[in-house]
């Protein structure tokens, strides 16, 4: 059987119709330099050894695949398993990618690191690896997100990085990305831009996917060990889509496993107030890639709405757009209210406070578990822990500290 997994991206950086390199000319050379560095290094045994050593000793991988007994009993159908990315150092899957990209930056001799962040997890993960190598680090963050993720802002500062609050546009993740791209255009000679999701111009969607695929690779081994078969479904939340892509990618050719991405439905997809481009968007170009995009009737990018800063983004990684069109993955959305309900339920049932992003994946179990019988095995990718969201949730619940 022909593999779909290794088909994309093509030499121009496309996944089917999606992807590409849509950036100002000044960045073209930097992208080529990055692509050739990555191509030369990715199968280099020394590089791989270093990457997996750091993942093991610094991040604490492999992360467990944990049987969620009370949640399983609650639904009363298939077994629910949790991929514990929340147990990684810094508290989310984001560290996997930054560990890999900082090695590329080092190899390329870059002295200055920049990144964008929404929920702050990628900012923390980037500041962490930059601190470890003693590199100057600047994090761009929408000023609205600086407010709602203040705990992570302080963590980033503690790690020695500078946080730049971005006021332009909607002052969220998309605007942080704009500003990081502008910094990169200006300081391209000595600066490495660590993009935090499977978004942006080629080769980023490929690089971020590959580094994060350690999640899906571990899942193949762990599924075999723990229930002696491949899972019936993997459920993951999708903003830009890095945690989902990392979990899905190694399973693309394992057709018995359903791949389900859960987008942020905000006030409800039908209201238009959401962040669910795969459910309610159309193809367009943003931040260097052609992909599903939330846009208005004159081609302008629409403001998004989600209780979760990490999912509050109008675009999505181009490989997800391809997986949607090809039918290999399914994309659904849950509302803010459903995600908040799941946030509380998972905390109480399992003793795990999930990130609000992750809570979206859990919320979809209400629908999904009805489709399975007792023999099924369903994996939820617990992309991050919820400590960072305590203030947001407390405020919604009317609690003041």
């Amino acid at each position: 059987m022909k593999s779909d997994k290794n088909k994309f991206p093509d030499k121009n950086g496309f996944f089917g119709d999606y992807g590409g390199k849509f950036v100002p000319e000044t960045l073209m050379y930097a992208l080529e330099e990055l692509e050739s560095t990555y191509k030369n290094l990715k199968d280099n045994p020394e590089f791989k050894k270093q990457f997996y050593k750091d993942l093991s000793e610094f991040v604490g991988r492999p992360s467990p695949l944990y049987f969620a007994e009370r949640l399983t009993n609650h639904y009363g159908t298939g077994s629910i398993w949790l991929k514990r990315e929340d147990l990684n150092h810094t508290g989310a899957h984001k560290i996997n990618n930054t560990i890999g990209q900082i090695l590329l930056a080092k190899q390329m001799g870059k002295k200055r690191i920049i990144a964008e962040t929404g929920a702050g997890q990628h900012g923390v993960a980037t500041a962490t690896v930059a601190a470890r190598l003693g590199l100057e680090c600047h994090i761009y963050m929408g000023s609205e997100d600086v407010q709602r993720q203040s705990l992570n802002v302080y963590r980033i500062k503690l790690l020695g990085a500078e946080v730049h609050a971005v006021d332009s546009g909607s002052a969220t993740l998309k605007d942080a990305l704009n500003e990081a791209l502008r910094d990169w255009v200006t300081n391209v000679d000595d600066t490495y831009y660590i993009i935090g999701s499977v978004t942006g111009p080629h080769p980023y969607p490929m690089i971020v996917r590959d580094f994060n695929s350690v999640v899906g690779e571990e899942l193949i081994t762990q599924s075999q060990e723990l229930f002696n078969s491949m899972p019936d479904a993997i459920v993951a939340c999708v903003g830009g889509g890095s945690n989902a892509m990392g979990a899905f990618y190694p399973f693309i050719d394992i057709k018995e496993t359903r791949l389900i991405g859960v987008e942020a439905g905000g006030e409800g997809v039908e209201t238009g107030e959401h962040a669910a481009p795969l459910n309610d968007g159309m193809p367009g170009v943003l931040h260097g890639a052609l992909s599903y995009l939330m846009q208005d009737d004159s081609g302008q990018v629409k403001a998004t709405k989600s209780v979760s800063a990490g999912l509050d983004y109008p675009g999505v990684g181009p490989e997800h757009s391809w997986l949607k069109d090809s039918g290999r993955a399914e994309y659904v959305a849950v509302s803010d209210d459903e995600a908040l309900k799941a946030f509380h339920e998972v905390s109480e049932f399992e003793g795990i406070i999930p990130a609000l992003e992750t809570a979206h994946a859990f919320a979809y179990l209400d629908t999904l578990m009805k489709e399975f019988d007792k023999n099924a095995n369903v994996i939820v990718n617990v992309s991050g822990r919820g400590d960072k969201d305590i203030n947001t949730v407390a405020e919604i619940d009317g609690i003041k500290f």
Partner: protein, 261 residues
């Protein structure tokens, strides 16, 4: 003949340099944009570059970003820009008009560009596509609209040739590493790179990004076939948008045109 091609060849015959002035359509409002375009021409501008507002203009510095935001508050779309350009063309059928913007807007309004009502627009510059490509590569075809490609200080030598040859309007040399309106011009690098571009280009090479004073313009026009002024004009438009008295801009443009002639 395309107005842009004609204007550039006329300037060359006269041994003169081109002055390109930029504004954002709909900033501060669409009627004022038409008035500003007329003022540009009266003050000595050879070519007008019209910024098409976009929510996420990643190549722009803060001054032009804010102008995009102001225009979007007025609901400016490519449709309203075509109406505005039609209005301008009633008064002026000679000044070349270039649209500068981001790919998403052009793809979205593909039909408008293919029709190009009354051939009002002469050229399109898409900021966020590789220089070797043109709108035709994204399925938008119009033979009367020519292409302006960007070459930057970081463009590798092997690509300079193919990008230069891809340009049918003019080659736009980005004079610095940065966004529009920055200020770190490196004259020696600019000189060497423009010389290199000219070896391959079939059309004139103009310089833009970071040119603010008539001194900058004079210096760069020694190497380039013309200069493009954006952020400093957009800033003056912002500062005078309440009174709508733009004499200052006219004076500024005339000074620059004199400096490069």
């Amino acid at each position: 003949m395309n107005r842009l091609t004609k204007r550039l060849s006329d300037l060359k015959k006269d041994n003169d340099k081109a002055l390109v002035a930029y504004l954002v359509a709909g900033d501060p409002d669409i009627d004022t944009t038409v008035e500003l375009m007329k003022l540009f021409v009266a003050s000595g501008v050879d070519i007008i570059e019209i910024g098409v507002p976009f929510t996420d203009p990643i190549a722009e510095g803060p001054i032009i970003q804010k102008a995009h935001d102001r225009a979007l508050k007025n609901n400016i779309s490519l449709e309203s820009i075509y109406k505005m350009v039609g209005e301008f063309r009633k008064h002026d059928d000679e000044t070349p008009l270039v649209l500068m913007g981001y790919l998403n807007t052009f793809i979205f309004h593909k039909k408008l560009i293919e029709v190009n009502q009354d051939n009002a627009i002469d050229s399109i510059l898409v900021v966020d596509i590789p220089g070797e490509l043109k709108l035709e590569d994204y399925g938008i075809k119009n033979q009367n609209i020519n292409t302006i490609s960007l070459i930057s200080p970081t463009t590798k030598k092997d690509r300079v040739e193919s990008i230069a040859k891809n340009s049918t309007g003019f080659v736009y040399y980005v004079t610095l590493r940065g966004v529009t309106g920055a200020s770190n011009l490196d004259v020696n690098e600019i000189n060497a790179n423009i010389e290199d571009i000219k070896k391959h280009a079939l059309v004139p090479t103009l310089a833009g990004f970071g040119i603010k004073s008539s001194e900058d313009a004079k210096l760069l026009s020694e190497y380039a076939d013309g200069v493009i002024i954006g952020s400093s004009i957009v800033q003056m438009i912002e500062e005078n948008s309440n009174s709508k008295e733009f004499d200052r801009i006219g004076k500024y443009i005339t000074e620059i045109k004199q400096a490069i002639s």
